[in-house]
């Protein structure tokens, strides 16, 4: 796994990959358990569940935002590794890498917008 563009920050990338993984594990287990114990049948139920608060904070929205940011960082590092492992043509590798990064930046803005308006 040689990432030609980012090999100078290998250690911090390694840490981000693990840290975001742990964040996603905790989120997945917690939210699935709570979701399974919440009766949701209609749009109103779903919206209320998503906006439910704890100590005045929309905890599910905040956790979902954390999860998504972790997911995008995790995907960025993971897909970079895959691209640099299998695409040896340098121009194609560079193009795919930039397309992937652009997509993830777009997803970040899009999901923040979705959560903000939910």
């Amino acid at each position: 796994m040689v990432n030609t563009q980012t090999n100078r920050h290998g250690h911090s990338l390694w840490l981000i990959q693990r840290f975001s993984a742990v964040v996603m594990v905790v989120y997945s287990l917690t939210v699935i358990l709570i979701y399974l114990n919440t009766p949701i049948h209609t749009y109103t139920d779903w919206k209320a569940f998503f906006n439910s608060t704890l100590f005045g904070m929309a905890w599910l929205k905040i956790l979902t935002l954390l999860f998504l940011l972790g997911l995008f960082l995790h995907a960025w590092i993971g897909v970079s590794d895959v691209i640099s492992d299998y695409i040896s043509h340098l121009k194609l590798r560079f193009t795919l890498q930039k397309m992937m990064e652009l997509a993830l930046c777009g997803y970040t803005c899009w999901s923040i917008w979705v959560l903000w308006n939910a």
Binding site: V25, T42, Y43, W46, L71, A75, V79, A103, Y107, S111
Partner: protein
């Protein structure tokens, strides 16, 4: 092995480093096996887990926009919520969701196994094999449970 070069080699540290660099590069280019018969090489169970971890990761990356779309639709209006519900009734979509669920569960469990390896747990060959079996079995069982919930 000696590389004969027309240029005179400078007799300092820099020059020697370059020379060995050239040697190494030449060796890499010339000695690579060219007809690697992939079908004759067995894939050990831990290697299968590893490549499936990678494949499932790529699948999950590709389906990210579908889920943000579904989240947006289901949260913006009642009609949008109904649309997502209707889309999820289609058997093809259910089948794809089942595949994605498998990818998520496998990536999740194989990832936990990798985290355990980072902490130097279960590093022996026997343990690597048994935890591989555990990951495969558990992800299969959990995927079946998701399938039952879906249908």
């Amino acid at each position: 092995m000696r590389i004969s070069s027309g240029k005179p080699q400078p007799n300092n540290k820099q020059g020697n480093a370059n020379k060995s660099g050239n040697l190494r590069r030449k060796a890499v280019v010339n000695d690579r096996p060219k007809n690697l018969k992939l079908t004759t090489i067995g894939l050990p169970l831990p290697a299968l887990i590893s490549i499936l971890h990678r494949a499932s990761g790529v699948i999950l990356f590709l389906v990210i926009p579908c889920f943000i779309w579904a989240l947006q639709m289901s949260l913006t209006s009642d009609e949008g919520y109904q649309t997502v519900q209707n889309v999820m009734q289609c058997w093809l979509v259910k089948l794809m969701l089942l595949g994605i669920a498998w990818a998520y569960i496998h990536h999740f469990l194989a990832g936990l196994r990798h985290l355990a390896h980072d902490a130097h747990w279960w590093e022996g060959l026997a343990q690597a094999r048994s935890t591989s079996k555990l990951v495969l079995t558990l992800s299969f069982v959990l995927t079946i449970i998701v399938g039952v919930k879906l249908w």
